[in-house]
Symmetry: D2
Subunit: 242 residues, 4 copies
Amino acid sequence: MHILMDDRGKKYMVADKEFHTDYGFITEKDIVGSSPGDILKTHLDREFKVIKPNVNDYIELMERKCNIILPKDIGIITAKTGLGSGFKVLDAGTGAGATALHFGNIVGNDGKVYSYEIREDFAEIAERNIKGFELDNVEIKCKDVTEGIDEDNLDLVFLDLPKPWDVGEFAKKSLKVGGYIATYTPFIEQVQILQRVLKKIGFSEVESFECTLRGIEVTNKGTRPKTRMAGHTGYLTFGRKL
Amino acid sequence: MHILMDDRGKKYMVADKEFHTDYGFITEKDIVGSSPGDILKTHLDREFKVIKPNVNDYIELMERKCNIILPKDIGIITAKTGLGSGFKVLDAGTGAGATALHFGNIVGNDGKVYSYEIREDFAEIAERNIKGFELDNVEIKCKDVTEGIDEDNLDLVFLDLPKPWDVGEFAKKSLKVGGYIATYTPFIEQVQILQRVLKKIGFSEVESFECTLRGIEVTNKGTRPKTRMAGHTGYLTFGRKL
Amino acid sequence: MHILMDDRGKKYMVADKEFHTDYGFITEKDIVGSSPGDILKTHLDREFKVIKPNVNDYIELMERKCNIILPKDIGIITAKTGLGSGFKVLDAGTGAGATALHFGNIVGNDGKVYSYEIREDFAEIAERNIKGFELDNVEIKCKDVTEGIDEDNLDLVFLDLPKPWDVGEFAKKSLKVGGYIATYTPFIEQVQILQRVLKKIGFSEVESFECTLRGIEVTNKGTRPKTRMAGHTGYLTFGRKL
Amino acid sequence: MHILMDDRGKKYMVADKEFHTDYGFITEKDIVGSSPGDILKTHLDREFKVIKPNVNDYIELMERKCNIILPKDIGIITAKTGLGSGFKVLDAGTGAGATALHFGNIVGNDGKVYSYEIREDFAEIAERNIKGFELDNVEIKCKDVTEGIDEDNLDLVFLDLPKPWDVGEFAKKSLKVGGYIATYTPFIEQVQILQRVLKKIGFSEVESFECTLRGIEVTNKGTRPKTRMAGHTGYLTFGRKL
């Protein structure tokens, strides 16, 4: 998978085959042999720059049929749980695979991401998306995670589900000592149940947060926070097996 | 390095040698052979649980002589830049090494973190902290990053410096196409200069943000955001080499 | 001025004369003699409820050709300065008169609002808007406030101007001891100048703020903060003559 | 009641009688005859400045035995409901009288505030506080507002109570058409009940908010939001009788 950018700054996700645009086509050979920084030319002599494929670019361009979690929330999850290279992660529900891609990108070849999705159509989309980003360490499973977790010795169980508490006991069993459960839920009622259930199951360090990210605008007229901002995305709840 | 937790929930960072506490001592042999989940006993029969060493635990317990960047801000930096396993990162100034530890934890054995610190005393503390967390992929350099960057083909240049714009040109040269510069600065005047300089140097996607994280409290009395919250830590500014 | 509401909840601002709608007309006599809570009928027998005229309803329905300051920011200004009945206020620039209306509504018959507007067209609109709300205590002046303030013994000088610092000295002179200057400015650069200039002129308790108001949504699906929210409107800066 | 300020900027609330300080005393005659801006001297020749008594100064200096609502929240309440001179307000529970003072300050001689407090000790403190600020338009009633509201034709019913919904029906009956109920509650569970009950009772425009106020710091080192900030005070819920 390659990201090409035209002279208008528009980005394209390109597979290892001939690439056609309104500026002409680029040959498969040129695409396959390219590396970040190269300039590729179409048969009409228009230039496209090869840029390093980035997980956010990819997620923005990939096939999606559902809402995805924003990078700000994924960043809080990874930083709070100390996610790193070599970690073993369970992710559910997969959706289009955005969190699985982020986790796979971080845990690397020494790590592994198991991503459970109950809907077959979503699992198929996610499968294609993961393959497209050339991650070998993500396994999409078309399974209902509320019926159990096959894996053990996990570092992180991340749940983006309507009733993540149903997975609490399974998560507890499958995690390493020191590992984390993390959930993303839009409603405060879900946070209330999670706080109660996770503590009851025996998780430690149970905490919930909301993260707000606000852009700052610097123009000739002056500097100010951006008017446009999401007032809310979802609450993040964490628990730790200690 | 091991993290032990006593029955009061207090955590200890323990090296591969005999460990003494007010509850008695644990033998070097027991410490060295332990793995997460094990219960170790002192000669007074008090129990300590071995927990998986986590980068945040470690940073909390390690030696620090300066302010460190909070996980929330590190999370935004890693998620926005798509940092992953195998990436090559330049980090400056190192300080006690908190960001170097987070980056090293993520880029793993296939990646590398070069961390520049101008003050020798800080570089030595950071060196010890990195060694203590057993990361082989972080190199602390006692150098002034404003005089140049030795490395090239970098994925991320992260700067926690008073005048990060002084490193803009070097960062631009040392980054891969598609790579990011990211800066952390407490003051809006720094954001204003960064926005101007990074654009002038030719960085794309220049954006600045502030991230707010607020805890949610669920008790018997009711649910509410926590009163205690940091109104501000630092602004994050990003630029991309395209 | 009366506010009528139809059975769809739509509100209308109605003067003391015959009122025509797509539901038929209501006679002048009915309008003039009405009081809040009355039901007026059109000649087609459609019902309109008379509701107590509220300054926010009025501002929403009145003629505007420029941006207006939101109630949240007006609320912070009035609460921070302790504005009350009987106070003497200077307001500039008037714009469509929204802040003058809010201030006039609060200071009442024992108080007075002088509102300076440099543009004749805005001053005329504001004049009509003030008259429409039947406030006798607001005087619109088509004058450049940066050339001086005619009044003295003021409790509050409120400035919604690009360069409010130009009025600092005049404000200082015209205020009572204990009175406040308050400014609304979109950009942080304006705050920086204001803080410096107001302190230099001798104002005490110089402080700047930003106010964020977020709606909370309670539906059958659950409770959550609203996604839609303004990330920024303006900074409020205060100084006090002591 | 007078506010005097010494040369260190410290403020004192002073009644119409001889005033003793560590800088000496000021005679009753001097105090009684003073007006804002005057300089009064003690018998030791130390100077005190007379400043215009402000409702916030007063609340800060007055006797309090309970938490009070911050000006930011009072500002949102007054601005959202369009509170003005001449309005009739019911306030409960009174506490030390801070909201009653703010409302009384705004509604003036043509308006009236009835403030219900169930605890006799609080009612007495509030009574003294109101008298001290020389407001003739505030009546403290030592009554349980959940048993009924004596007044009618009200513009605003403000409730700072654990279960404000118990007063919903009484509020509805006592308000003018167009008038508002407003509540201040720390917990989201209270907001959930209020939203449901107020809608059921027939209030319109039922909305809930949280207001965040953040200070901006401009120093020689630079400009930045203040670190110190309250993450939460209370939720504000409004309903309107239409």
